[in-house]
């Protein structure tokens, strides 16, 4: 290994060749402030345009200051990270950024969670010496994401996520000079673009320029409406992240407190999306076995691989980008929508109320779910199966607004019948989880044998694309997993080219899966947080008494009482959907 010797703030340090000044300094505990820079270790995600110029340091013998995040170290470098020249430059640059930024921190959605605000504080900015005109852009509201572009500081993180990671290519820098800003082409609305609403731009935005549509007000209003029965479902990934909003260690499971909080907020029934995840496995797993069976019987018309369809951003992605393949994904609705559909039929019947008087709210780690629940095919007489989807962050806000001391809440249990779930439902929250849950059920349904083991380590991990072969009683089933739409694109292109080796592929839009969703507590570039959430999800699974969807007694009951069997006509009507070509 080639090494480089250098001196940072009078301390000698030896690092690998190719290390940046930023990394070298951090190795000896010197944290040079950064703003646009962001790196998610192990996920292959890095943003270093060298644009904000906050991380500039003085390098002896160099004409100008060097951006630490994107300058490689060189032998014998002598670096001063806090010379008067560097500090003055850093503070002046910060003042310039603030001079073109609205100062409405007190009422900004990101207040307290804003990297820019933190940085201004850390740099001790008390006065802006260079005041002047501020840039103004049209605010853009879509079904899921709000762009308040005046707050954009051109860090380009969203652009990197949208283009490099997700390959959606909606956001890019437009205009020149002072008018430069990140926006869709021709500054059109997100709503008119091919945006998937994955929300990864929101997840990484250091300011309040990109936020989710705030539905907390609507939920509060409905909760206080005496004519409505308001029920709630909560997605698996929420329980592994909500605690962070209350200063709990990342990866703390807060399932019981979450239920308690929802009950205190006034929801009439607190249910679990995990139940619907089990239902999804019944439908999707059956569909997989059907297609597989026909394929093995020599049917050439059968479409393989089957692709999972739980993720609304992923669905919108292929509707825009691969409309010719819209008959390949499973037709199974996402767990959120299966839940809504069952709640407003089966459960409303049980309560003896009209669907219009039943309100379904979902708590999601996702901003695309807001868009999904508004899709026309998920409405009956204009009444949506799911009325509102709020993010983990919005739920935290509701809890805070309602004076609930989250940390001291007791652990409570979900209500029934839509609150019982298995470990298979829980792992839907992480990349690899849906397909592992499907394998657990499909294997047993196909082989009629009990699985010798339930933990499929070969399906787990954080690699962008993973492959595994599972032996289904002598038949090798090839499974692919992709998280991040850029990775999904690679697998789709393989299918398009007729080169795909897989029978089934799981796709989740967000890096890490739902645990890294656009609606989760902000990770501020710390990938460790995602890994801890993933660990928590698998921990929850391992503690569950039942870990296979087809063994969920309430699922069995639902089929007995209401649906008949998986893929029945009723199931088809309530639990499956169709996809549309959105290129037209």
């Amino acid at each position: 290994m080639e090494v480089v010797n250098l001196i940072v703030d009078n301390k000698p340090v030896v690092v690998k060749k190719g290390t940046t000044i930023l990394q070298a300094a951090s190795e000896i505990g010197i944290h040079i402030p950064t703003l646009c820079y962001m790196k998610l270790d192990d996920l292959n995600i890095e943003n270093k345009p060298g644009g904000c110029r906050i991380c500039v340091v003085e390098v002896q013998g160099r004409r100008n200051l060097a951006p630490a995040c994107c300058t490689d170290v060189a032998e014998g470098m002598i670096i001063n990270t806090h010379s008067i020249r560097a500090i003055n430059a850093r503070r002046t640059v910060m003042e310039l950024i603030l001079s073109d930024h609205p100062s409405d921190c007190l009422i900004c959605a990101k207040s307290g969670n804003c990297d820019l605000q933190d940085m201004a504080h850390n740099l001790g900015i008390r006065k802006i010496h260079y005041q002047g005109e501020q840039s103004h852009y049209r605010e853009d509201t879509s079904p899921a994401i709000i762009r308040e572009v005046d707050k954009c500081i051109m860090c380009r993180r969203c652009e990197m996520m949208c283009n490099d990671v997700q390959t959606v290519n909606v956001l890019s820098a437009i205009n020149r000079g002072f008018n430069s800003v990140v926006a869709p082409a021709f500054e059109m609305n997100l709503d008119h673009s091919v945006c998937t609403y994955c929300g990864q731009c929101v997840a990484v935005c250091p300011t309040g320029a990109l936020t989710e549509v705030d539905d907390t007000g609507n939920v509060i209003r409905l909760l206080s409406d005496p004519t409505k029965t308001v029920i709630v479902q909560t997605a698996p990934a929420v329980r592994a992240a909500l605690g962070e909003e209350f200063d709990m260690e990342a990866g703390t499971l807060v399932t019981g407190k979450l239920v308690a909080a929802l009950r205190r907020l006034g929801f009439d029934y607190v249910f679990d999306t995990d139940f619907a995840a089990d239902l999804t496995i019944m439908e999707e797993g059956t569909e997989l076995l059907n297609r597989l069976g026909r394929h093995l019987a020599g049917d050439k018309t059968v479409k393989l691989p089957i692709l999972t369809s739980c993720c609304p951003a992923w669905v919108k992605f292929f509707e825009h980008q691969f409309p010719d393949m819209k008959d390949i994904p499973s037709t199974a609705r996402s767990p959120q929508q299966m839940f809504g559909s069952i709640a407003k039929t089966y459960f409303a019947d049980k309560l003896g109320i009209k669907r219009e008087d039943l309100v379904v709210v979902s708590i999601m780690p996702c901003v695309a779910k807001k868009y999904e629940c508004g899709r026309d095919e998920f409405k009956v007489n204009k009444n949506p199966d799911v009325d509102y989807a709020i993010t983990t962050r919005e739920l935290a806000a509701l809890i805070k607004i309602s004076n609930i001391n989250f940390r001291t809440l007791p652990n409570e249990e979900f209500d029934n019948p839509l609150g019982e779930s298995t470990g298979a439902g829980v792992i839907f929250g992480t990349t690899g989880g849906v397909i592992e849950a499907a394998v657990r059920t499909a294997y047993e349904l196909h082989t009629k044998k009990e699985l010798p083991r339930l933990d499929f380590d070969e399906l787990r991990g954080m690699e962008g694309i993973r492959k595994a072969t599972i032996d289904f009683g002598g038949i090798p089933i090839h499974i692919g997993i992709a998280h991040g739409l850029g990775n999904a694109r690679k697998l789709l292109e393989e299918i398009q080219a007729g080169k795909s080796e897989f029978h089934a592929i799981e796709i989740m839009s967000c890096p890490g899966g739902c645990i890294g969703g656009g609606g989760q507590p902000y990770h501020h570039g710390n990938a460790e947080i995602l890994k801890k959430r993933q660990k928590a999800i698998y921990l929850e699974d391992s503690k569950k008494a039942i870990r296979k969807s087809h063994e969920n007694p309430y699922i069995i009951k639902l089929y007995d009482e209401f649906l008949g069997k998986p893929m029945s006509e009723k199931a088809h009507h309530l639990l499956h959907t169709a996809y549309f070509d959105r290129t037209e």
Binding site: V56, C70, A89, G177
Partner: protein, 597 residues
């Protein structure tokens, strides 16, 4: 050119073409036909002669007669008088402003006397659309020599030894750049010609491409041979249609002659050239931004290293040189490094092309040896300041250069001296200012340009330049405070120190150099509310001198905003709150009754 008795060369550069030089050619051919001379006399549309101030230019060979400001209607006289009767058309000759004598030959015109034309050697001599004329002037000889007689290392050493440095502004040694690119191992490399000339008023590269496209093509092929590339790309602004057209024609001809394409001159060397069009963004002259633009990405710079020599176009090693740099190469190979490096100063060899503009008598394109003084350029070649006004400043280096004063007039021009003086070489813009120019406004003008042209990627350039501009506006509007001058200096220093690319690192130069050299003008604006040059409208007022006003109502009737009141035969009055300082009253008044203070 041998079959003809005489040649009539007409400037076919963009400027002269706009002044109907194509019509002149047509008319000349018409009259030559009339008199059955078409087989004896050839009319050639050439590239730029450089003396744009007096265009369109027509030159007769072999006697070297130089006609200026020619109109299509002059064609008949040129044919009848000069060609047939053998006597020059006197009214079209250049008049030496020093003694009012008419000058017949181009070589006796002061504008050309101190010039040495290397990069521009063929501009104004050959028909750029005919490869044979280029070949007739030693064209493609250098390429042949390189491919058949010299090794790659020998050619690179020759270029290194010549001392040639990048003419686009950076001044990086060309040979060294080639060597670095050559030494990187890769399956594919690229030669890129940067023809994204963007400095306001500059047209060096355009003129070379319009007047002598083959010199660039030949040099690119030589570069390709040296670094091991078979693929050249010219990044050219789409606003240069004539240059594009001539370049395309030249590439096609070179291909037809086997000087581009597969197995050039039977040596097994392949080289092709393609064009890539820029949309006119100034920042795309920065090489990383240029490469991103060629890749179809947003034209914005990225941090270096990696330098394009290591990772450039499509991630491959890419050698980027400017048009003028390339145009020097064939001459260096033909005449040798030792010939070339005798011209110029110790660290800056050869010549430099400048686009001379502003308040100067001879606006145009010039090429002078490095080491020529600013005084020689401005007074001897440029013919001094227009209308006999006093010299105030000269701005070199384009929008990010500095404004130099009288005390630098005897500075020999080279890379180091200009930087030491607080300016820079840049790509060759040179704008002369006279006593009527307000230096605060000049700084503001340049900043307006960089403000528009900043890509917006890094904060100091995007926002800092905006703030600088706002402070300058404040000062020119008479609202400035003394602290503003300090704030300009401090902010300028930070912008230079922290910006990502050369644009931001130099954009405050006009501000800093004008404060340094003309601080009294800033102080007059700020402290006294006066613009010494009388340019800042907000600091001026027009008043009517009662004693001189006859009440003729002429000013009243001409004022576009109704700021003037008064009865007939009674002195008038200007309402300062309405006046927009357009100066119409001042011009119209026949009694000198209006003052400007």
């Amino acid at each position: 050119m041998t079959d003809y008795r005489m040649h009539i060369l007409i400037c076919g550069g963009t400027g002269c073409k706009a002044s109907e030089s194509s019509d002149i050619k047509e008319k000349l051919n018409y009259f030559l036909n009339e008199y059955d001379l078409e087989d004896e006399i050839q009319v050639v549309l050439t590239g730029c002669f450089g003396f744009c101030e007096k265009g369109p230019i027509v030159k007769i060979l072999p006697d070297n007669t130089f006609y200026i400001e020619v109109k299509p209607s002059d064609a008949e006289d040129i044919v009848k008088e000069h060609i047939i009767k053998g006597r020059p058309v006197h009214r079209l000759l250049y008049k030496n402003p020093k003694n009012d004598f008419k000058v017949t030959s181009a070589t006796n015109i002061d504008f050309y006397k101190k010039q040495i034309r290397i990069a521009l050697r063929n501009c104004g001599f050959i028909n750029p659309e005919n490869i044979e004329e280029y070949i007739g002037r030693d064209g493609y000889q250098a390429l042949g020599k390189c491919l058949t007689e010299l090794t790659r290392t020998q050619v690179i050493n020759e270029v290194k030894e010549s001392g040639l440095r990048g003419r686009g502004g950076g001044g990086f040694p060309t040979g060294l750049k080639w060597e670095i690119t050559r030494n990187v191992e890769a399956d594919q490399k690229y030669v890129v010609c940067n023809a994204d000339e963007g400095d306001p008023g500059a047209f060096m590269d355009r003129s070379i491409l319009e007047g002598d496209p083959h010199s660039v093509i030949e040099a690119m092929a030589i570069c390709g041979y040296c670094i091991g590339s078979d693929s050249g790309l010219v990044y050219i602004r789409a606003e240069y249609p004539l240059a594009i057209e001539r370049l395309k024609t030249a590439i096609k001809q070179a291909e037809e002659y086997g000087l581009l394409g597969e197995d050039i001159l039977g040596t097994g060397f392949n080289f092709k050239i393609e064009l890539r069009y820029g949309a006119g963004a100034f920042v795309c002259g920065e090489e990383t931004a240029l490469i991103h633009s060629m890749e179809g990405l947003r034209g914005e710079p990225t941090v270096k290293p990696p330098f394009p020599s290591v990772s450039g176009y499509r991630g491959k090693p890419t050698n980027v040189n400017n048009v003028e740099t390339f145009a020097n190469i064939p001459v260096i190979i033909n005449k040798g490094a030792s010939w070339f490096n005798k011209i110029g100063t110790e660290k800056s060899k050869g010549t430099k092309v400048f686009a001379l503009a502003g308040k100067i008598n001879n606006v145009g394109l010039i090429e002078v040896p490095m080491g020529t003084t600013l005084r020689e350029v401005i007074y001897d070649i440029g013919g001094g300041i227009k209308d006999g006004k006093g010299f105030k400043s000269v701005q070199t280096g384009g929008p990010s250069g500095g404004c130099l004063t009288k005390k630098f007039l005897d500075t020999p021009i080279d890379y180091e001296n200009l930087i030491a003086a607080g300016s820079m070489m840049g790509s060759g813009g040179m704008i002369v200012m006279d006593e009527d120019d307000c230096m605060v406004s000049i700084a503001k003008f340049y900043l307006e340009f960089t403000l528009e042209e900043s890509c917006g990627k890094c904060s100091p350039c995007r926002i800092g330049n905006k703030r600088l501009h706002e402070i300058l506006c404040k000062i020119t509007e008479g609202k400035g405070e003394l602290e503003d001058i300090d704030r300009l200096k401090m902010l300028s220093d930070v912008i230079k120190d922290t910006s990502l690319c050369g644009l931001g690192q130099s954009s405050p130069n006009p501000v800093l150099s004008t404060i340094l050299n003309f601080e009294d003008e800033y102080l007059a604006h700020v402290n006294d509310g006066k613009c010494p040059a009388g340019q800042c409208k907000s600091l001026m007022r027009y008043d009517i001198i009662e004693e001189l006003c006859t009440g003729c109502t002429l000013c009243f009737r001409n004022c576009p905003v109704g700021a003037i009141t008064g009865e007939r035969r009674v002195p008038h009055y200007i309402d300062q709150s309405i006046c927009i300082k357009c100066g119409v009253c001042f011009e119209k008044c026949k009694f000198n009754a209006i003052t400007l203070t």
